[in-house]
Point group: C2
Chain length 325, copies 2
C-alpha cells in the first residue's frame, strides 16, 4: 500500500544491493529468504521520514540506519516464529519450518549482527547516540516478547500490562526508527523525543487496530486469518475487556470456548464474535485506539518544523490507522 | 587456574557490578545464571592484556570491551547449547534445560544486545573500528557454528575444512579480544594484526589441545568427560586423521563403532582409543598443535614493544597450551 512513496523506493533500491555470502548456505539462505518476503517496509520508511523532517539532504546518509532497523525487525520475526511455533509468515513458510530450529536460531543471530554492521556505517559523529538508542530498543523488544509469552500462561493480565507489553514488543521500534532519523537529521533532544513518542503511540494504536481486525476484519482484505487470535486464545485488548465484562452464562460460554479447540468447537470464532458484539467491545477497542492515535498526532503537531514537512508522516499515520489489512 | 592474575581480578570486580533488571525474570535470570557459572574469563583477560601491551594506562578504559567479549561468548554458549541439545555446561544445567528453548533463545538474544551496550561505552574515538571488528568476528562465529553443524552430517570433512571451522567458531574471538585491546591501547594497524594473528593461531592450537584431551586426557583432571567427542562421533582433527589412515579390518571396526551408541557397545570409547593408539594419531595431533602454537608465538615475537611487556601473554599462552583441564 505504500509502494508508491518515494522513501520506500529509495530504500528498496538500497537494500536490494545488499549482498550476503553464499556459504555457509544454511546461514545466509534463510536471511535472503526472510528479506525476500518483503513486508511493508514501514520501519525503514520511518527512519527516512524522520530524517527528512529535519534535513532532507541527510536522507541518503540515513539508509544504513533504515537497513539496521529492517534487519532487526526481520531477526525478531525469525526468532519469535520459533518461540510461537508459527508455521506461516506473510503467507509463506517460516524459517524454522522451511529449515529447522537450529538454522532459524543461528541465521536470526547472524541477521542481528548484520543490523549492527549497518549501524557501523552511520555517520561516525552520531554513532554513540544511535547505538545507545538501538540497544535500548532492542532490549525492550526482547522484554516485550518475554512478557507476551508470560501472558500466555497467566489468567489475570490487566489492560495496563497489555498496553505495556505491546509498547515494548512492537511500538518502541517504530519510535526508535523515527528518532534515529531525527538524530541523523540533526534534531535537538526535545524534537527527537516528540518524534519518538509519536512513533510509540502510533505503534500502540496500530497494534490495537490489529487486535480489532482479528475480530472484525473483512476476511477478503485482511492479510492474516480473521479469528486467528480467537483460535489461539490470545489475550488481546479485546479479550481482556470482554473477560472483565462477562456475566452469568456468558462467562461460562466464554470459559467453555477457551477450553475448546476448533475440532471440539467448529464455531469457536463465530460464537466468540457474538460475545464480543453483545458486550460492545468493538467500541471500547476503537475508543482506546483513537486515544493513542490522538496522543501520537499531538506529539507530531508539537514538533517545531514547517507544518508542510509533516504531511508525509500524517499521511502514513492515516493510512496505517485506516488500513483494512 | 588464572584467578591469581591481576587482569582477571580487575575484570571480575567490574563485571560483578553489572546489574540486570529483575523483570521479566525469565529474560534476565538466565543471563545472571550463565554469567555466574563463571568460566576461566580468558577472553576478557585477553582484551586487558592486549591493551596493556601498548598502553597500561588504558586498561580501565578497556573493561567495557572485555565485558562485551565475555557477554558475547556467553550468548554463543546459550544458543549453541540449544542447537547441540547439550544438557550440561560447566557441570551445571544448560539454560534451555533449566528453563526451556524459548527462554534460552530470547535471553541469549538479550545478552548479545547487552554486549553491544558495553561496546557503546568504549572510547568514542575508537567506536567505529571496535564495532566493525566485533561485528566481523560475531558473523564469523555464526559461520563457524553453522559449519560445525553441517559437518555432523557430512562424511567427508577434510583437515583444512576442520581447521577453518574451528578458526571461525572459536579462534577469531580470541584474536578479536586481543585486537580490541590493541585498538584501545593505541596500537598501529600492523601491530593490531600481529596480535590478532597471535590470538587466532593460539585459539586453533587450544582447540586442537581440547581434541587431544578428549581422547588422551586424564579423567581425574579434565573438566569435561573424557571420550565425549568419541561418544558423539564428533569429527575432531583426530577423527579426521584416523579416518584417513585406517586399513582393512580396522576400518570395519571403526565404522561399526560409529554406528553404535554406548548401550550397544559399552566399550566404544576404549576400543576407539585403541585404534587411535595403533595409528599413532596422538603424535599427528601434537605436531599440528605445535605448528599453530609456533605460528602464534612468532606473531607475538614480531610485535614492536619492549619484550618484558609480552611476558604475561607468553605465560598465559604457555598455561593454556599445557593445561590438563
Amino acid at each position: 500500500m505504500f509502494q508508491n512513496l518515494v522513501h520506500a523506493k529509495i530504500f528498496q533500491s538500497y537494500i536490494e544491493q545488499s549482498q550476503f555470502p553464499t556459504a555457509p548456505s544454511n546461514l545466509y539462505d534463510p536471511i535472503r529468504y526472510i528479506l525476500s518476503l518483503s513486508g511493508k517496509r514501514i520501519r525503514p520508511m520511518l527512519v527516512s521520514m524522520g530524517t527528512a523532517l529535519f534535513d532532507e539532504k541527510q536522507v541518503e546518509a540515513s539508509l544504513p540506519a533504515s537497513t539496521a532497523i529492517e534487519y532487526f525487525h526481520n531477526f525478531s520475526l525469525i526468532h519469535d516464529d520459533i518461540m510461537d511455533k508459527a508455521p506461516l509468515r506473510r503467507g509463506k513458510q517460516t524459517v524454522h519450518q522451511k529449515w529447522n530450529d537450529s538454522v532459524a536460531i543461528l541465521s536470526g543471530d547472524a541477521l542481528l549482527v548484520k543490523a549492527y554492521e549497518e549501524l557501523a556505517k552511520c555517520p561516525a559523529d552520531k554513532m554513540v547516540p544511535l547505538l545507545q538508542l538501538f540497544n535500548r530498543t532492542a532490549l525492550a523488544v526482547c522484554e516485550g516478547q518475554q512478557y507476551d509469552m508470560d501472558f500466555e500462561i497467566r489468567p489475570d493480565v490487566s489492560e495496563d500490562e497489555y498496553i505495556e507489553m505491546i509498547r515494548l514488543k512492537t511500538s518502541v521500534l517504530l519510535g526508535c526508527a523515527l528518532q534515529m532519523g531525527a538524530i541523523i537529521g540533526g534534531a535537538g533532544k526535545d524534537e527527537q523525543e516528540l518524534l519518538y513518542d509519536f512513533g510509540v503511540n502510533l505503534g500502540i494504536a496500530f497494534q490495537l487496530q490489529d487486535d480489532l481486525l482479528d475480530v472484525y476484519g473483512d476476511p477478503n482484505t485482511f492479510g492474516k486469518q480473521v479469528g486467528g487470535d480467537i483460535l489461539s486464545n490470545k489475550k488481546t485488548i479485546l479479550f481482556i475487556q470482554l473477560q472483565k465484562k462477562l456475566q452469568g452464562n456468558d462467562l461460562q460460554l466464554f470459559e467453555h470456548l477457551l477450553a475448546c479447540d476448533v475440532q471440539q468447537e467448529p464455531d469457536k470464532v463465530a460464537k466468540m464474535q457474538t460475545l464480543y458484539a453483545k458486550y460492545d467491545i468493538q467500541n471500547i477497542g476503537l475508543a482506546l485506539k483513537e486515544e493513542f492515535t490522538a496522543l501520537a498526532y499531538d506529539r507530531l503537531r508539537a514538533i517545531s518544523v514547517e507544518e508542510s514537512k509533516k504531511d508525509q508522516l500524517f499521511s502514513l499515520a492515516d493510512a496505517l490507522m485506516h488500513r483494512q489489512q
